[in-house]
């Protein structure tokens, strides 16, 4: 067993960190508050090939794995610039196209995604949140076309994306009543596709949308993977999403603790730095332990995904990493704010504005409760209620 970080990973960490530091948290917040996008930072990361680190070299990718993409996610977040769309565009969409796409599809979409194009992922619906079996958005075959109809909600970054990967129902399994799913790559400006912004209390540049598919026609060659076999396809994207989601949480945790440690060493109220008070030091140390445990599980999950994708071990580790990282991110941010006292809530100190995103990580990409269900059922063999 070897826990030493490789030279390549160290270099990727430092290079990503340096690029993100050039932009910094103030840029990130400014973009969020002005309804801008993370576009310049995103492009700078893409220009180095970092957003395609995990994609095949034949299509312009780096030939690495989710382990490398995880580093990119964590290091940008560590500089106060968590990039939510890496989860969506790189970890899910590009990963699934690389795994399930035809040669033509890979050649058509992967080079663009490596170069910084964005693809949104549309799965969740108003009436089928975490239950993909109940999806109601349908795709009906009509000659050389599929016609999509239905509603998707909480879809990130649609306004910045050139295309969307949409999960639809193409049939129903008669025995189980569960949906037979199929995935389509749909142009973001396809006729019949409209969107409505969902105002959310998160200070991030990416916006959330409800999407309305009103007989959106999609050529049949936009089908990704086998028709009706979409659930299997989707499952392959979930682990990378959870692992990179964990990495964002870990990065937020590191960002928060670094700020808190600097402040605690600097701030002196009773003649000594407040860091010397155990009431300040121990909560920060506890959060640090939790953060490092989460990072360890995240690295393990990424390694397992890269070595044995789709394995039970990779799924378990990805879920546990996501759980641990979301909890650690919130805890780190909470103690960092507490360490700062009133300053913790100011705009200037750049902590409280991250609360919305950190809190989201307890809900998405998969909720804490669904992970606990998974661990209870799969890891412990406990009887299921659903």
């Amino acid at each position: 067993m070897d826990f030493a970080e490789s030279e390549e990973h160290e270099l990727l960490r430092s290079a990503t960190g340096e690029i993100a530091r050039r932009f910094g948290h103030d840029y990130f917040v400014q973009q969020a508050r002005s309804s801008g996008s993370s576009g310049e930072l995103w492009q700078a990361i893409a220009d180095q090939g970092f957003l395609g680190a995990h994609l095949p070299e034949a299509y312009g990718g780096g030939g690495g794995g989710i382990s490398e993409l995880t580093i990119v996610c964590e290091e940008t977040a560590t500089q106060g610039c968590p990039l939510l769309l890496i989860l969506v565009s790189a970890a899910i969409c590009a990963e699934l196209i690389a795994r399930f796409g035809t040669d033509g599809q890979k050649a058509a979409w992967l080079p663009g995604l490596v170069a910084g194009e964005k693809m949104a992922f549309a799965i969740t619906e108003p009436d089928a949140g975490s239950n993909s079996h109940r999806l109601g958005t349908t795709a009906r075959r009509d000659g050389d076309l599929y016609v999509l109809k239905g509603t998707k909600t909480f879809i990130s970054g649609v306004d910045e994306a050139s295309r969307l990967l949409v999960v639809t129902r193409t049939g129903t399994d008669e025995e189980s009543g569960r949906g037979r799913l199929s995935l389509f790559v749909v142009d973001a400006d396809a006729p019949g596709l409209t969107r409505q912004r969902i105002p959310v209390e998160m200070t991030i540049p990416e916006k959330q949308f409800t999407l309305f598919f009103d007989d959106v026609e999609v050529p049949a060659d936009r089908l990704l993977g086998q028709e009706h076999e979409g659930l299997r396809v989707v499952f392959h994207g979930l682990n990378p999403e959870r692992i990179t989601g964990a990495a964002i949480g870990n990065g937020i945790g590191r960002y928060a603790l670094a700020k808190a440690a600097a402040y605690a060493n600097d701030r002196s109220v009773w003649g000594v730095p407040i860091a010397t008070h155990q009431g300040i030091a121990h909560p920060l140390a506890t959060a640090k332990v939790e953060l490092e445990l989460a990072r360890l599980m995240t690295a393990k999950a990424a390694w397992l995904h890269d070595h044995d994708p789709g394995s039970a071990a990779a799924g378990e580790a990805a879920n546990m990493a996501k759980y641990a990282a979301a909890e650690a991110a919130l805890h780190c941010l909470d103690v960092a704010i507490q360490t700062h006292g009133g300053n913790g809530m100011t705009t200037e100190f750049g902590l409280a504005d991250l609360w919305g995103l950190a809190r989201l990580l307890r809900i998405a990409p998969v909720s804490r409760e669904m992970i606990l269900n998974f661990v209870a059922g799969h890891s412990l063999g406990l009887a299921k209620s659903y």
Partner: protein, 261 residues
């Protein structure tokens, strides 16, 4: 004409981390991990651009560091340098600038350079004397403080930064040139560059490999001695000016006073 460009790169303790002096030797503690001196990244970039202009050209890094340290070299290799020569030897501890120049000159000579690029000074030692010493030892012309470098493979054209502006200097190759931080914007390593860096050759040499004697280098060969070190004076708090509508004028007045405008 294809060129062999050598860049002198120093691997230094991370300036962002707290540094310390060894109380016994009064020299910088270098026992931790070392990274590429940021001031050398400009030279690496300059070399890559000059080499990139001419097919068949190559950039070789030359460094002297304790403990076989290659972390900083890997960064420059990931940026695009082709190979590196590292001189690492216990007997080099305590080397002064001239001893270091002797070692680097011997290593550079092996690379048969058309052009040698160095930073004007390192970020940890700041003597700023090494590049010209290297040039003298190699018997090459040296041009310092370049803010712009161009070459046709035979001659070097340099805009040399001065207090008043810049001089236009030309000299024949091979030559040694020192570049300022403004010369070019260093690239970040690409993902492919990072993955390729590990397999690029790093030749590690000892003092005797270079045909030098241990008595010429390190503490034994040093002609300078650090007799004393003292704490830097704490910086004063500065003057706080409250803007009462005249902020802009006060700033201009201050800048005029220090002759910036």
């Amino acid at each position: 004409m294809a060129m062999n460009v050598v860049v002198c790169v120093k691997q230094i303790p991370d300036p962002a981390a707290p540094s310390s002096l060894d109380p016994g030797t009064k020299t910088l503690n270098r026992s931790g991990k070392l990274i590429l001196d940021d001031s050398d990244s400009y030279g690496v970039e300059m070399a890559l651009q000059l080499a990139g202009n001419v097919e068949g050209s190559e950039v070789t890094l030359v460094s002297m560091a304790p403990g076989g340290e290659v972390s900083g070299l890997r960064t420059a290799l990931a940026m695009g340098a082709a190979r590196a020569i590292l001189v690492s030897d216990d007997s080099l501890a305590g080397s002064d600038a001239l001893s270091t120049a002797k070692v680097l000159a011997a290593a550079i000579r092996r690379a048969e350079p058309d052009l040698v690029i160095a930073a004007t000074e390192s970020t940890d030692g700041y003597t700023g004397t090494l590049p010209v010493q290297v040039a003298e030892l190699l018997g090459l012309p040296s041009v310092t403080f370049a803010k712009s470098v161009a070459t046709d493979g035979r001659n070097l054209k340099v805009e040399r930064q001065t207090e008043a502006g810049y001089d236009e200097v030309e000299c024949p190759l091979p030559a040694v040139v020192t570049v300022t931080a403004g010369v070019v914007e260093p690239r970040y390593p690409s993902f492919k560059g990072i993955m390729a860096a590990k397999s690029k050759p790093v030749e590690t040499l000892t003092v005797s490999d270079l045909g030098l004697d241990a008595s010429q280098v390190g503490w034994a060969g040093a002609r300078q001695e650090i007799t004393d070190v003292s704490e830097a004076e704490a910086r004063s708090a500065g003057e706080v000016v409250v803007d009462e509508g005249d902020g802009a004028e006060r700033i201009v007045a201050f800048l005029e006073q220090v002759k910036v405008v």
